[in-house]
């Protein structure tokens, strides 16, 4: 079958060849680019369908993090009020920034991306759509959700007269890094979930631990010095430091935080995409 790659075939004509060699990672990135309009549609669907039957609709996207943060504020404000003095921002700003980045963006994003393959099995077994599209859609939706959440956060900062430093202009860097992390980790979990579904429930539990091990709502100072290392070893801590640094401290975090963010986001994204590309087709092969 040598003639198949003949120059005669029109360049615009799509050809499906089951034996075509795939270049790992490069082809996945190209896939995402060629499917960008589909991804945009799916992200909008993700964000709107969830609230389709509710009265407030998409406004829940804004309300959810505020309500979560308010509940925590009621519970913890008395206990951790001194954090505000240490941080020079109102506790609610500290709290909401933590809740938005860690449980909302990272936690919900990883779970959504992790269950994206199982959730799209019906489509994947009927129409030839790359599985990457669904995992990436879930991660993007989490990022968009996070950006919506920034609106009430800035609102609260304005209301409480918290100065907004120029470093907020660099926030996209933090958002893109987190998006890479969520995509990578989510794809690893999605790949594992293809083999056994329990992974999703297991991840939920582990996430609780990982998420609450970073100072989302408590000041890191409440942890004894000798144990602080365990908080700092958690890569999420560096993401949080980067985000809060840019958001209200007006400074980039120490270099080691930046290094952790840069290395973990790139490595986990590449590994995640690579593992995912090897395993997502098994969703269809498994009965």
């Amino acid at each position: 079958m040598v003639h198949i790659r003949g120059a005669a075939s029109a360049p615009s004509q799509p050809v499906y060849d089951s034996a075509a060699r795939r270049r790992p990672v490069i082809d996945e990135v190209r896939t995402l680019w060629t499917h960008r309009s589909l991804i945009r549609l799916l992200v909008v669907r993700d964000l709107t369908v969830r609230y389709k039957r509710s009265v407030l609709g998409v406004w829940w996207t804004l309300l959810n993090p505020i309500l979560t943060a308010s509940v925590m504020w009621v519970v913890f404000s008395k206990i951790f009020d001194r954090v505000a003095r240490g941080e020079s921002v109102p506790f609610i700003v500290y709290l909401l920034s933590g809740v938005l980045l860690i449980p909302t963006f990272f936690g919900q994003g990883v779970i959504a991306a992790g269950s994206s393959l199982m959730g799209s099995g019906a489509i994947l077994s009927k129409i030839r759509v790359p599985g990457e599209v669904f995992a990436f859609t879930a991660a993007i939706a989490a990022a968009v959700n996070f950006c919506f959440g920034l609106v009430p956060l800035f609102g609260i900062m304005a209301l409480t007269r918290t100065p907004i430093p120029w470093t907020v202009l660099a926030l996209p860097v933090a958002i893109v890094a987190m998006l890479m992390l969520v995509t990578g980790v989510g794809m690893l979990i999605a790949s594992a979930a293809v083999h056994f579904y329990d992974v999703i429930d297991f991840t939920r539990v582990i996430l609780q631990l990982v998420v609450w091990m970073v100072p989302t709502f408590y000041p890191i100072e409440i942890i004894p010095d000798q144990y602080q290392i365990f908080v700092k070893l958690n890569p999420l801590y560096s993401y949080l430091q980067l985000f809060r640094g840019l958001l209200y401290r007006g400074a980039f975090p120490p270099l080691w935080n930046l290094a952790v963010v840069a290395v973990s986001s790139v490595v986990l994204l590449v590994v995640g995409v690579w593992v995912f590309s090897k395993s997502w087709r098994r969703v269809v092969v498994k009965l």
Partner: protein
């Protein structure tokens, strides 16, 4: 387009599904089995060494009893199931009509679903938005465009799916039993549409238990039995032999 290049080549394709040996597949059991080095999946061969070559504009009917591998072969052609061994090449745009309604979202309206399913099939959202009225009109759903698809009946969904899949002239059309849905008048209408597509040079592969219809639409028929090609040839001949056998 080069007409001499076959639009579909299936070369020695076999396909194995993986069936977990134990009904449960929990992580704990997986780990135990992994440590014991026990195989946890059994292979079920749904297709054995299938060969096929179709040129542009040819129409192939696939017949066979339930469980013969007809739908599996369609999924292999649609590119959703990679063959375990062998090779598949499909040239041109493919419209799989294997229940495209599966790509629909019940919470979205008919209008939104037309755009969504179109995008899943690789068509641009802008184009699909332009085509919404024509698609709805053809499916007889113009009055239901702005209600959620979850309120549609199965027949309405299938009609919408068919209308979306056949809205553009694909190079390859895969039809899996979709014509068994809908009422008499819709069936006639969809049959006519398939004929129009065939005249336009689309390569068609169809699976159906309705032998009379296969005989009417296809010149060539493939008879599958337990994953193997039992016979390929002129429609009347193969269908006659098949009727005799069952």
């Amino acid at each position: 387009m080069n007409d001499r290049q076959p639009s579909i080549v299936v070369d020695g394709v076999s396909l194995a599904y993986e069936i977990p040996v134990n009904a449960t597949s929990s992580a704990k059991e997986y780990l135990i089995n992994l440590v014991k080095r026990r195989i946890i999946y059994e292979k079920f061969w749904a297709l054995h060494d299938v060969d096929l070559e179709l040129h542009r504009g040819e129409v192939l009917g696939i017949i066979g009893p339930n469980g013969a591998g007809k739908s599996t072969l369609m999924k292999v052609l649609a590119g959703v199931l990679p063959p375990t061994t062998g090779r598949v090449i499909v040239r041109g745009t493919v419209s799989p009509m294997i229940e495209v309604s599966g790509g629909m979202n019940g919470e979205l309206t008919g209008r939104e679903n037309i755009v969504l399913v179109g995008a899943l099939l690789g068509r641009s959202p802008r184009l699909m938005r332009e085509r919404v009225p024509a698609i709805a009109e053809w499916a007889g759903l113009s009055d239901f465009l702005d209600v959620p698809v979850r309120t549609y009946s199965t027949g309405m969904r299938a009609r919408l799916g068919f209308a979306i899949a056949t809205d553009r002239k694909p190079d390859v059309l895969l039809i899996d039993e979709v014509l068994s849905v809908g009422d008499e008048s819709f069936r006639g209408k969809s049959l006519q549409r398939i004929r129009d597509l065939m005249d336009g040079g689309t390569t068609v592969v169809m699976v159906s238990h309705a032998l009379a219809m296969v005989e009417r639409l296809c010149r060539t028929v493939m008879w599958l039995d337990r994953g193997r090609v039992k016979a390929v040839g002129p429609a009347e001949e193969i269908i006659a032999a098949y009727r005799e056998a069952v």
